[in-house]
Structure formats: C-alpha cells, structure tokens
C-alpha cells in the first residue's frame, strides 16, 4: 500500500514538473504587470492586445501559418502517394525506400539543417521561402507516411477488388473506396505536418532567408532582449494552436471514423 502511494506521489510530481512551467506561462499571459514574471498584479488581456498590434509578430504569425499550411498540403500529397506505392504496389527496394523516407526524423535536425544548406550552397542557390518550405516538407513527410501507411495496411485489398468487380475502374475504386477509408489518416497526417512545421525552430533558424521570421524564431529573437509579457501571451496563443488544433483534428477524425465504421 505504502509503495503504491509513493509511486502515485512521484507520478504527480513528474507531471507537475512537466506542466507547471507551461501553466505559469499561460497564467502570466493574463498578468496586468509590466514584467513578464510574478507577482501578478491583476487580470488583463492587455498583452494579447499588444500582441495583436505588434506588426512583427503578426507578420511572423502569417508566415508561420502560410508555411504550415503549404507544408501540410505538400507533405500530405507526397506522403499519401508514397504510402500507396509502398503498400499497394510491389516496388523494388520498398524497404529501403521506406527507411529513407522515415530517416529525416531519426537524423538530428541540426545535421539535416546544415546538410540541406551545404547542398544548396553546392548547387549555388540562395536561401528563400521555397527552401524553407522544402526543408519543412522533408522532415514532416515521415509523419504523414507513417500514419497513412499504418492505415492503408489495415484497408483490405479485397474491398478495392470488390469495387472493381462491381464495375468501378481502378481510379473510381480509389476515389470511392480507398480514399474515403484513408481519410482519417490523411487528415491526421496533414495536421501532424502542420503542427510540426508550426513548432519548428532549429531547421527554420538555418533555412529562413534574412528578414523572414516565423513565430518560434520571432519569440527566440524577442527573448534575447528581455522576457516581455508579450512572449507569455504569444506562448499561450501557440499552445492553443499546436495543442488545440490536433485535439480538434483528432476529435473530427474520430467522428468521421465512427461514422464510416473505421
């Protein structure tokens, strides 16, 4: 009995250690004070309002959203196609291709970032938004491939065969049967890609062209001066984006899956 209680207390302590700082950021973002730290002097949305009128942050936010959406779109499209090829067709060296597709999440991001930069230098290209996008696609692709592949394996081939036996051409069978059955995984993969891209600091720092900031790099830059209460507000907004969105997405995906009979 005693042992279990100790373990319980320990587990709670671990959770507190993990989430208390996050909680503090959220709490302080509503602080009225000039300084981004305790004590709290009163509740206010003032820092959110400041945030809203800070042109640099808004620009960073727009960049991040555009980058995230484009990354999600491209990664999902490529990832779905790759997963289809790997699962449904006999591709020579499928295992090697699969490993290579997953590799970007295994290789340390700094290494990947430097490698891409060097490669670009070798090609004589300059940093650009397109390069940044390319980098994000490279390391969000594995998430999409993994999620979609896992789903595709569980979609039986004979469902597609049944559709074709009933008169659907292979393309019609794909759009009528395979794609709707894959949809939850496609959505989840896209959402993953968006959040990972939205959250990324390391690669983005290396790849972004001068003058372009995403939300995380903007925060990083602001931190160099001082801990402004705006950062707390921005942190809260980020949490809502990167935690709230996937939760919402998962809920939608579950709904769809339930409706479709998984």
């Amino acid at each position: 009995m005693m042992g279990w209680q100790l373990i319980r207390a320990w587990a709670i302590a671990v959770y507190v250690f993990m989430f208390l700082p996050v909680g503090v950021v959220v709490l302080l973002s509503f602080n009225d004070s000039q300084f981004g730290s305790f004590p709290m002097t009163g509740l206010s949305l003032r820092w959110f309002a400041e945030l809203w009128s800070n042109e640099a942050i808004l620009r960073a936010f727009r960049t991040s959203v555009a980058l995230g959406l484009l990354t999600a779109l491209i990664s999902t499209t490529l990832g779905v196609l790759a997963a289809l090829a790997l699962v449904r067709y006999r591709v020579p060296g499928a295992n090697a291709i699969s490993t290579l597709l997953i590799a970007p999440i295994l290789v340390p991001e700094v290494v990947l970032a430097v490698a891409l930069l060097l490669f670009l230098d070798f090609l004589g290209l300059h940093k650009s938004f397109a390069l940044l996008l390319l980098g994000h696609v490279i390391f969000t692709l594995p998430f999409v491939v993994l999620v979609v592949q896992a789903r595709l394996v569980s979609i039986r081939r004979d469902v597609e065969e049944a559709a074709m036996s009933l008169g659907a051409s292979p393309a019609q069978a794909f759009f009528q049967v395979t794609l709707p059955l894959m949809r939850p995984a496609v959505l989840a993969g896209g959402l993953f890609a968006f959040t990972v891209s939205f959250d990324d600091v390391t690669g983005t720092l290396f790849w972004k062209p001068g003058g372009v900031e995403t939300v995380p790099t903007q925060i990083f830059a602001m931190l160099r001066n001082s801990i402004s209460p705006e950062i707390n507000a921005l942190g809260t907004a980020m949490i809502v984006m990167t935690v709230g969105l996937p939760l919402l997405g998962a809920a939608i995906a579950r709904r769809l899956a339930m409706k479709d009979g998984g």
Partner: protein, 358 residues
C-alpha cells in the same frame, strides 16, 4: 447468364506453377464447386475467371467471348469474397447500389432494385445500417445481394461460408443454394469443405497441387473416386492394396488380403484393369458387428478394436483386420465397442470402389 470455359489455362508465379494446364467447361446455369485443400489452385483459378489474375497461358471464355484482355470491371461478374469485403463507410443499401451506379440503370430504379435484392437475401429492413452493425451472417447476405443485384453473367464465390460459425454455415448453405436456383445464375464456388461441396454442387471439380483430380456429380465423386487423393479428401477412406483378378463389363473382382474376393461394380472401377489395384472402402461403409451377428450376405472379416474415438452421434474406430489397420465410422446404437473387443467387420461389395494400383 453465361457458360464459362477455361481452355488450357496455366498460372505460374515465378518458378512456382499454381495451376497446371487445365481445361474446364462450366455450362450455363450450373453450380460448379472447385474443391481442394489450401494451395491446390482453386482460388487462383477463381481469381483468373474474375480477372483479378492473368493466366500465364490459355484462354478464358465467358459466354462465348474471350475475356483474357478484358479488365475485371468490364466483365460483369458478381464476386463474393471470403471476408465479405463490404464497404465499411457505406450503408447496406449504398453497398448494394454500388454496382448499379456503373450500369445503365435509371436513377429512379436503383432503390427498387436494391430493395428487391435485399428481400431476396431476406434482409429487407436493414438498408440504412452500416456493415459493422450487422452479424457475420447478415454481412454475408449483403455481400451476396451486392453481387447479384447487378445481374452478373457469372457468380463467383470464394469460400463465402468459411468465416461463419458451424450452425450458421449450414443455414447459409441452404439459403445460397435456394437463391442460386431462383435466379439461375452460373455459379463457381470455391471451398475446402467437402460437405459444402457435396450438398450444393451440380458438379464438383476436385483439385490438388494445381491439377484437376476429378470432375463429376457429387455422388460420382463420392462413390467412385478417380484417385487416392479424391478418396481421402472426400471423407475418410481405407485404401487397401490388392489384386484385380478379373475385369468384365459388369465389374471387377478384387482379391484383398484378409478380406477375400470382392466384386466391385463397373461404375465404381472405371479405370481398373487386371493386375495390381487398390480397394477403396469408405470408413462409414465398414460396419462393426458383435461376433455371431447375422451378416446378410455382406463380406465379413474378424477384427480387433484398437482405438475408439467417441464423437457423440457417431464413433470412429481403428480396428485391425489381418495385418492392416482399418478405419470405421459407425452410428452408435447402444454403446460403442470397447478397446480390445473382438468384433466382425462387415461391408457390402457394391459400396467399394477400385483404383488402378501402382
């Protein structure tokens, strides 16, 4: 409805030959079963007819038209898969309607035809449900409705009953046969279950290791097996090496050790010639009697019970007759014989079949 003709088809996967050169003629409206153990090539054959596999050699002709180069979605076949393969994201009615959307069926007619098909499989009220809300047997019926609503030229059934539990399987067997007779569609049924094959088919094609062993009506295949494989695959048989001492138009005489001379009718020994032969004696045709019981002109031999395998309604004995062990499956009348009991083994010569020996 159409006949199906397989002309010298061969299917190879790399070095492995799944189906050796096979010719098979399936008449219009017939219920033909491809029967054999797993790996015998029966499903491969079915998938070639369906267009899910291309034959390496030979022609597939459906309704007089060579279909080798026609893809599956243009062959107008109804296929029922082993695991039903219903579309989980569509309702039962949408599943059944799926094939009609690719045919020249007026939109207004679709609900009526879907309903008619669901009534045929006795699920008239389940159109709005999702497949996962149905039991296995119901899903099977929906799969059947989906396959027949398009009025296919041929109905292909790939072990459709094997995923059901035993009682349901027997009900569905009767049901499937009823529906097939009602619509009269040419049907190719694949199974490894001999009792399904015997109960449902007009004709059984017994396959083994990619070759056709025998084609015939159920009774013919059961009573006059063309090979040792067929004799063993359809029920338990005792196969006894013997000598064929006389072969005449009315039958053949086989001399087997410890059993004596057995006159086998000609229909059950079509390939037999004088010389070494094999006697096929089905386990359920070999009856054990207490010593001294009347034997009504049957052939008898003294036997000793060695193993008793009690199965409730029946009992399976292994008995020793002379030098050999025999299997006998008997109904239990009072109580089964005990191990070691001395009994009389009796059988009628006309229940035996003869195969040419090696």
């Amino acid at each position: 409805m159409s006949s199906v003709l397989l002309k010298n088809i061969v299917k190879r996967f790399g070095d492995f030959t799944a189906v050796h050169k096979t010719t098979l003629d399936i008449p219009d409206g017939a219920f033909v079963t491809l029967l054999g153990p797993s790996g015998c090539g029966k499903t491969t054959t079915l998938r070639m007819i369906a267009g899910l596999l291309d034959p390496t050699e030979g022609d597939i002709v459906i309704g007089g038209r060579r279909v080798n180069d026609i893809p599956i979605h243009k062959r107008n076949l109804g296929v029922v898969f082993q695991n039903y393969a219903l579309f989980p994201h569509k309702s039962v009615a949408e599943n059944v309607a799926f094939g009609l959307r690719y045919r020249d069926v007026p939109k207004a007619d679709i609900p009526r035809r879907v309903q008619a098909a669901l009534e045929l499989v006795q699920l008239p009220d389940l159109g709005a449900r999702r497949p996962r809300e149905l039991s296995g047997g119901q899903q099977q019926r929906v799969a059947l409705a989906r396959a027949i609503v398009i009025e296919p030229d041929v109905l292909l059934l790939d072990e459709p009953l094997s995923a059901l539990d035993a009682n349901l399987r027997e009900d569905m067997r009767v049901e499937l046969k009823r529906i097939q007779e009602r619509i009269g569609v040419t049907t190719v049924f694949v199974t490894h279950d001999q009792s399904e094959a015997l109960a449902m088919s007009d004709r059984i094609v017994v396959m083994s290791a990619g070759r056709v062993e025998q084609v015939g009506a159920p009774e013919q295949v059961y009573n006059a097996p063309a090979s040792e494989f067929v004799a063993n695959f359809l029920g338990a048989s005792n196969i006894v090496p013997c000598m064929c001492t006389r072969r005449g138009p009315e039958g053949a005489t086989l001399e087997a050790p410890a059993l004596g001379a057995i006159a086998v009718p000609a229909a059950r020994a079509p390939k037999l010639r004088e010389g070494p032969a094999k006697l096929v004696l089905r386990a359920e045709k070999l009856q054990l009697l207490p010593e001294g019981a009347p034997c009504d002109g049957r052939i008898t031999a003294p036997a000793v019970v060695e193993t008793v395998d009690y199965q409730g309604q029946t009992v399976r004995y292994f008995v020793r007759i002379g030098e050999r062990q025999f299997q006998a499956i008997n109904l239990i009348e009072e109580r089964p014989f005990a191990v070691g009991a001395r009994v009389v083994a009796a059988f009628r010569p006309q229940d035996c079949a003869g195969l040419p020996g090696t």
